[in-house]
Amino acid sequence: MSAARDDILGGIRRALWRGSLPPDKTAELTGRIAAHRRNLVPARAAALDPAARADLFVAMAEEVQTSVARVASDADIPAEVARYLAAENLPAELVVAPDPGLDAIPWELRPLLQIHRGRAEAQDAVSLTPCLAGIAETGTLMLASGAGTPTTLNFLPDTHIVVLHAGQIVASYEDGWDLLRARASPTPAPPPRAGEGGSPQSGDRVGALPRTVNLITGPSRTGDIEQRIQLGAHGPRRLHIVLVDDAPPAKG
């Protein structure tokens, strides 16, 4: 459809009373993108120390019906998960993200919990995933897709449990974007040939975002019927965060 492309771009230029931009202008705009300067970032979370930031994150998350349990270390995660599932009257089985960061969780401490690792399928009722960050300004979790973090875990099950370390809590969305940029893929794959749609290898550019970045703020909800909020429209109706209050700040 290059005729359509040319027409649309040409129409834009004609409407703006100019031709293509001169090279110095495109260089300037390219530079503006590369610099990705922050605009105004609200002071709400930015001025806080890590402990206060974590408290803000928890307060904002709980405001939107996210439940948060604070534990001291990864070793406490199985007990908290078992407690939570029992308290919610849910069966003691869950699908856990195959992310290596979760490999060290001592599930054997709670042998009645049935764990399998992988993506979510239709019958999975509970999932447990890591996340990339917790964003304090609105109690938002940032999750990125990858080989160890399939996105279906965030949406198919009715209950989604997220492991968040205190050191992962940042102030603003912009802090989150910086984390994403830092997760550059180590080896660039060759670029796709022109006209190719979706070769699976073509996404591994240096600095490219993963396929999906989810910013999740509370469980699924709708107000579409008479303005009354219902949780669990299509996504999970329960979002539970296990906040591991470990001391060292997260890298990146």
């Binding site: 605009n39 105004l40 399939p150 279906t152 965030n154 996404g203 703020t217 699924s220």
Partner: protein, 481 residues
């Protein structure tokens, strides 16, 4: 959908006479403004963010060609494909081709006003493909075969009983004796019915709130999670969107995202804000294998560079609808097309023509509430006035108004004549109305007196009384002419 905007007056009357609609609108009229007010009260920087948001959008529009090309480069580099559509027909054709290439029979859809604009569902159905709306409001209206009445809450015109009726009629496989009296049950039923459709879909189609040039990403802002299930489960993800949705960087997106949810629903942030970049990567366990973006022009580029350009800043938050007393009176269907309320009054004539949609920018008191809540400060009344200027210049208003107006304006430019006539009119009407102080009916004023009394003038014009007073106290009126 075929516009019925030319019938706005009749549509509006129907809306005003519909008791269920009026009840439903009553729920929304105070709820949305209050929630928005509470949200922005918590963010001291909100006003500054509005100015920044406006500046970002204005910057992009000035360089829209550059940003679209950069965006396309990055979509392609991440393994996706961009399709350019000059009009609705090309957009429909592009989407159908992708669906056919994927051998699609079922297509799930997230909420997209652009998809409504190009009448995508009818086209897919006509070609043997079943589109399934998954946003709860869109699903409900799809069952009822009616268009959305609000750009973020499509079923806002309905009460729960009507939703229950639609579900009973459509979900015939479920137990007819089940209770469907509360929204919880309705929501659960929709979730149950739609889950298999999500899983069975070959193609998922979403809109986009933003397109990020820096990364080649599309962003959707939702609460239900349907947009996410729509795009991660099928083999193919198609984004259908307008060319004006581009923003330069993730940082620019963050600024606009801070404005969007607060302006739309009064939330701090929506439940799900999702960035999608290309198809699944090597090693990913889920995600679509193909990612396509259909960029639609359909009259948008023609708005650049002129008095209508500001409308392209629109974030589709619906704050203007939620604060508009006209929308609150007649509901969204009265506007006769995809986009209702103040933003619809400005955008619809641009996309379907002022001959078809000329009523919409006229059905406003210019109270300005829309502009005062627009997160990107679009001067909506001003642009509506520009449409009125176009209509006046093209003589599209009814002759009786035009003639009456021009006659009145001519008299207003002859002050002595005007004052003489005003003096006579005030005396005549003052005398006629002096017993009761008001008129229950008055020839030539039935539009007014049909529904309210007309207070009687006091019997003399101000200018005649002033001149008399000045003479009485010894000042000649001529000294002030």
């Amino acid at each position: 959908m075929q516009p019925t905007s030319h019938s706005f007056p009749a549509n509006a009357r129907a809306g005003l006479a519909d008791p269920v609609l009026q009840t439903a609108l009553g729920l929304a009229r105070t709820g949305f403004p209050q929630r928005r007010q509470e949200a922005i009260a918590r963010l001291p920087e909100f006003e500054e963010l509005r100015d920044e948001g406006r500046a970002i959008k204005d910057h992009v529009l000035a360089y829209l060609d550059f940003y679209l090309e950069r965006y396309e480069q990055n979509v392609t580099a991440s393994g996706g494909r961009v399709h350019w559509a000059r009009n609705a027909e090309e957009a429909r054709a592009a989407i159908l081709d992708i669906c056919r290439a994927a051998n699609a029979t079922i297509v799930t859809k997230g909420k997209s006003m652009v998809a409504e604009e190009i009448a995508l569902n009818d086209h897919l159905e006509a070609n043997g493909i079943t589109p399934v709306e998954t946003d709860l409001g869109e699903y409900i209206i799809q069952l009822r075969h009616e268009p959305p009445s609000h750009i973020i809450a499509p079923a806002i015109h309905l009460m729960k009983e009507q939703v229950a009726d639609a579900f009973r009629a459509a979900h015939t496989e479920l137990d007819p004796a089940r209770t469907l009296t509360d929204p919880r049950a309705l929501c659960d039923e929709a979730r149950t019915v739609l889950r298999p459709r999500f899983l069975a879909a070959d193609v998922g189609i979403t809109g986009a709130n933003f397109l990020v040039a820096e990364t080649g990403s599309s962003i959707i802002v939702t609460n239900e999670g349907n947009g996410d299930l729509t795009q991660i489960l099928p083999r193919v993800h198609i984004v259908i969107t307008g060319i004006e949705k581009i923003v330069p960087t993730l940082e620019d997106a963050a600024t606009l995202l801070r404005l969007l949810a607060r302006s739309a629903t009064g939330q701090e942030f929506s439940s799900y804000t999702t960035l999608s970049t290309g198809p699944r990567r090597a090693g990913d366990l889920d995600g679509p294998e193909e990612y396509h973006v259909v960029l639609l022009d359909n009259g948008r580029s023609a708005l650049l560079g002129g008095e209508f350009q500001d409308m392209l800043r629109c974030l589709r938050c619906a704050a203007c609808l939620n604060h508009c007393p006209v929308y609150a009176a007649v509901g969204g269907h009265a506007y006769g097309w995809v986009y209702p309320g103040p933003m619809g009054a400005v955008l619809t004539p641009a996309l379907v023509g002022v001959h078809e949609a000329g009523h919409l920018p006229n059905a406003s008191t210019f109270c300005g509430r829309c502009e005062s809540v627009c997160p990107v400060k679009i001067p909506l009344p001003k642009i509506m006035r520009h449409w009125r200027e176009r209509e006046f210049a093209q003589r599209l208003s009814p002759p009786v108004y035009r003639t009456g107006l021009r006659l009145w304006a001519w008299v207003a430019r002859q002050p002595p004549l005007y004052h003489a006539l005003a003096g006579i009119a005030s005396r005549v009407l003052g005398w006629a109305g002096l017993y009761r102080g008001r008129f229950r009916s008055l020839p030539l004023a039935q539009g007014w007196t049909a529904v309210r009394d007309l207070p009687a003038p006091q019997g003399r014009s101000f200018h005649s009384l002033w001149a008399e007073q000045q003479r009485r106290i010894g000042k000649s009126p001529r000294a002030q002419s």
